[in-house]
Amino acid sequence: MSAQTREYGRVGGKVRRRDVLRWLAGIGALGLVPGPALARKAGRSSGEGKAEAGGKGRETAAKAPWRTGKQLVVVLLQGGPDGLSVAAPVADPLYPFLRPTTALPADCGGVDLGSGFLLHPALSALAPLFAKKQLAVIPACAMPGQGTSHGPALAQFAAGTPTAQGKRSQSGWLGRLALALAGERSQMLVACQSDAYDGAPHYTMIAPGRGESLPGLPVEDQALFAAVGRLYGETGGALGKAFAAGREDRQEVLAKLLEESRRAAGGAIPAPHFAEFGQHFGRELAKRRDAALGFVSVGGFDTHSGQGAAKGYLADRLRETGQGLAGMLAGLGQAAEDTVIVALGEFGRSARENAFGGTDNGLGGVMLVLGGPVVGGRIYGEWPGLAGHRLAGGRDVAVATDWRDVIAPIAVRHLGLPEKKVGDVFPGFAPVSAPPGIVG
């Protein structure tokens, strides 16, 4: 085994679920509330915190549990960003095998995230946050049991449960969270339409306004295909015919993929526009400390073709996203100390690149968590690996971390959501309660 492989295997083993728990406990420690343990059982002993002023024994709080001034912003990266490019497992020997043209080289200039991962160099706007330990990266993230079609997956994300098979549910998880936090008094700042905050009593929408639009996905080298196509035409015969037929089919498939990626960005702010809008949204958030929650969606991550590696289409979208996220914290100013931003997609992308130099819709994606209260500067969660038998369905990065396992403790420790209400926000969801060391 090469030194690299050994290194990968060694550190890979370190990234365990207990680290997520430790880290989530850290968020609580930074806040005002003496953090109750995440597990429901443990919660009994430590009380629910002073922000929940109803007092012990009274189930219905007279006063809203929301810790005023604390904020959570959800940035939905619509289309399914490629986790293997955002946090590239450059120490995994199978990574370049699965990604002949889209793997990030180890020496591409990205920030070392530890545990064998590299942050995409185009996300350099976030590098200082990582250094300041205000950015945490969680690979192999999604909601277990969800699908990989955009429509149903967006509905499942909005519902906060994988059972909403493409149906519009009565309310979204952000809407239910708003209700659970402050009821009629709660506010929310949103910039895009989404079913995720359906059911919220109040929300203010900031129109993103007009800005740069999303460039279309790059298609394969048409000049090359035209020149070669003429040669196969002149050749004729079975070979010429086979080429012509194959080319026609391929273009049809490509047209469908391009149309899908255009639709997948629908309703979201185009990533090129988000680069600037993020800061504006942050300034508005700083002014509206009566809003516990924020929501923005950013489009352009359905990279079915011409994805690129250290440079290219996806690199450009990531640069804009990184600028938008860093800008949001900058716009928040001092309030960034009280704000947690989570960025995630409705899913991730296939482990192996496809025949168009892109990736297909897949399961395990990536989640970025940033802001003052975050105990970052490292990778969190388990890493399932890229060996064939590890991939979900033999093709996708397996889901190692349920994003609700990240959101729920943020809602509890950072925003003040009573732990018993987690089930109201995410119906049918049981947070991880495994004591450290039991999962390995």
Binding site: T101, A227, R352, A355
Partner: protein, 499 residues
């Protein structure tokens, strides 16, 4: 047990014993390089195209300077061709390549505590490592195919690895794809067919992949046997590895062969005849006499296997089957009957000497018939390797190339079935596959495949010189007009796709 030991030694007879008397002293590298031009001898072009993965810069000129017979002899005697130090270094950087089957199992196999009821996560980690070891084997194969001057030997390794394909991943057989190639295929690729057959039959990778290790007859004190015959491998051995699908075998022969091969197990050595992870368990062997293809095989334990493999290797149907398959691989999907017959005759006369069968093929006039030139479609493997060779490059890391090969539908060591990738070219002309080749050529030329410099930098001139008369003027003009895309146009052209 003396008989068994003797059997074992005869199987591992050193390759040097069957080398032809004349060793060529001429070395390719010492021949002055000159660009091939359109006047190049078409026979030279045919020989270079068929005996190698395709010309790199200067190879056509070198072959022409050597002359056709000398070029063919040099390829038939790979021992005379020195491998470049760069290749040796690149291979040395792949640690699992230095390990034999047993050591691979010790280093990468399941930990002792992960038995049948052991830790499933430990088993998963074992398979993780097996994936990495298999990737190293694929990298090594590609590096050698690209950079070794022993091109015919590399083609024969490819040929036999598919002929004796382990098929899709099965258990720890996947961990051993590389050691199977190194121990069972490579030493005998141009040697005696019986040695090759025996080495593949006894290798743990084959025993596991084809389930022959489960082929046992439980004997209780010499009486009352409980049968658990597993004839899958025996059937494959007859219908594919030796006699061929149209051979004279009957169902009873498969059953007899399965019985002959009972007790062939995988594990630690217990006797002199056990080696490399193979061991013969006499308690699980059916000791009765058997009849295979009309011949009696006396119940002698492991010696029965030697007798059976010899019967199969020396059978005329095997000579025809292997000869025809070689002619398909090297010449055309439908080789002339006369050519196959003379190859089969050599096979019979020389005791299955593969090198002599190849010599018969490469010196036959039919091999140079103009109608066969450019009549084949390159497999993805040959397309990728010939592209990189034409660029005159050696990759620093072949992982991305191995991945691209998988993307083009021919992952190494991972054919779906036990017959491997077929030697003919018909299967590589599917409509959906051709534009993928174009796309790959564009990626390669533009430097989007990791581990290689862009072909665009290598340039149209280099490629044109390396490929010489293989390229039609139309391709040259299209490449010249395409500017930065020129190299991609050449590597994606129909002329380059054919050979």
């Amino acid at each position: 047990m003396a008989g068994i030991v003797q059997f074992h030694r005869s199987l591992w007879r050193p390759l040097s014993g069957i080398l032809p008397g004349v060793l060529l002293l001429c070395c390719l590298a010492s021949v002055p390089v000159r660009a091939a031009d359109s006047r190049a001898d078409p026979k030279i072009v045919q020989a270079v195209n068929r005996l190698t993965y395709g010309p790199g810069p200067g190879l056509l000129g070198q072959a022409e300077a050597m002359g056709l017979p000398a070029f063919i002899e040099s390829q038939l005697n790979p021992e005379t061709l020195a491998e470049p130090p760069g290749l040796t270094e690149a291979l040395a950087a792949l640690p699992s390549l230095q390990m034999d089957t047993v050591r691979l199992f010790r280093e990468y196999g399941p930990p002792a505590e992960a038995g049948r009821d052991g830790d499933p996560e430990a088993m998963r980690r074992t398979f993780d490592r097996a994936d990495v070891v298999a990737l190293e084997a694929a990298k090594a194969r590609l590096l050698r195919a690209i950079a070794s001057p022993r091109q015919l030997q590399e083609l024969m390794v490819d040929f036999w690895c598919e002929h004796f394909s382990l098929g899709a991943k099965k258990g720890l057989a996947h961990l051993w794809v590389g050691s199977f190639e190194r121990e069972a295929i490579r030493p005998y690729a141009m040697g005696r067919f019986l040695d090759l057959l025996a080495a593949t039959a006894m290798h743990p990778a084959m025993l596991i992949a084809r389930g022959n290790w489960k082929n046992v007859v439980h004997r209780d004190g010499g009486q009352g046997a409980r049968e658990a015959l597993e004839p899958t491998y025996a059937a494959l051995l007859l219908a594919h590895h030796t006699l061929g699908p149209g051979g004279p075998q009957k169902p009873a022969d498969t059953q007899a062969l399965a019985r002959i091969l009972t007790g062939w197990r995988v594990g630690a050595a217990r006797a002199d005849s056990d080696t490399g992870g193979f061991y013969f368990d006499v308690e699980l062997h059916d000791p009765s006499d058997k009849t295979l293809l009309g011949q009696t095989v006396k119940g002698t334990g492991l010696g029965e296997g030697a007798a059976a493999l010899r019967i199969l290797a020396e059978h005329p149907a095997t000579a025809r089957n292997i000869s025809r398959k070689l002619a398909v691989y090297f010449l055309t999907d439908d080789p002339p009957a006369g050519l196959v017959a003379s190859m089969a005759e050599t096979f019979g006369k020389t005791g299955g000497n593969i090198r002599e069968v190849l010599r018969t093929l490469f010196t036959n006039d039919a091999f140079f018939d103009a109608k066969y030139r450019g009549g084949r479609i390159k497999s993805p493997l040959r397309h990728i390797v010939s592209s990189v060779r034409a660029m005159g490059q050696t990759p620093t890391d072949a992982a991305a190339l191995a991945g691209a090969l998988a993307g083009l539908g021919q992952p190494l060591f991972a054919a779906d079935g036990p017959e491997g990738y077929l030697p003919g070219s018909a299967s590589w002309q599917k409509p959906e596959a051709l534009p993928r080749r174009v796309s790959f050529a564009g990626d390669l030329a533009a430097g989007r495949i990791a581990g290689l410099s862009p072909a665009a930098k290598v340039g149209v001139q280099t490629l044109t010189e390396a490929l010489g008369p293989e390229l039609s003027p139309a391709v040259g003009q299209a490449a010249a007009k395409a500017g930065d895309n020129g190299a991609g146009v050449i590597l994606a052209s129909p002329d380059f796709l054919r050979y």
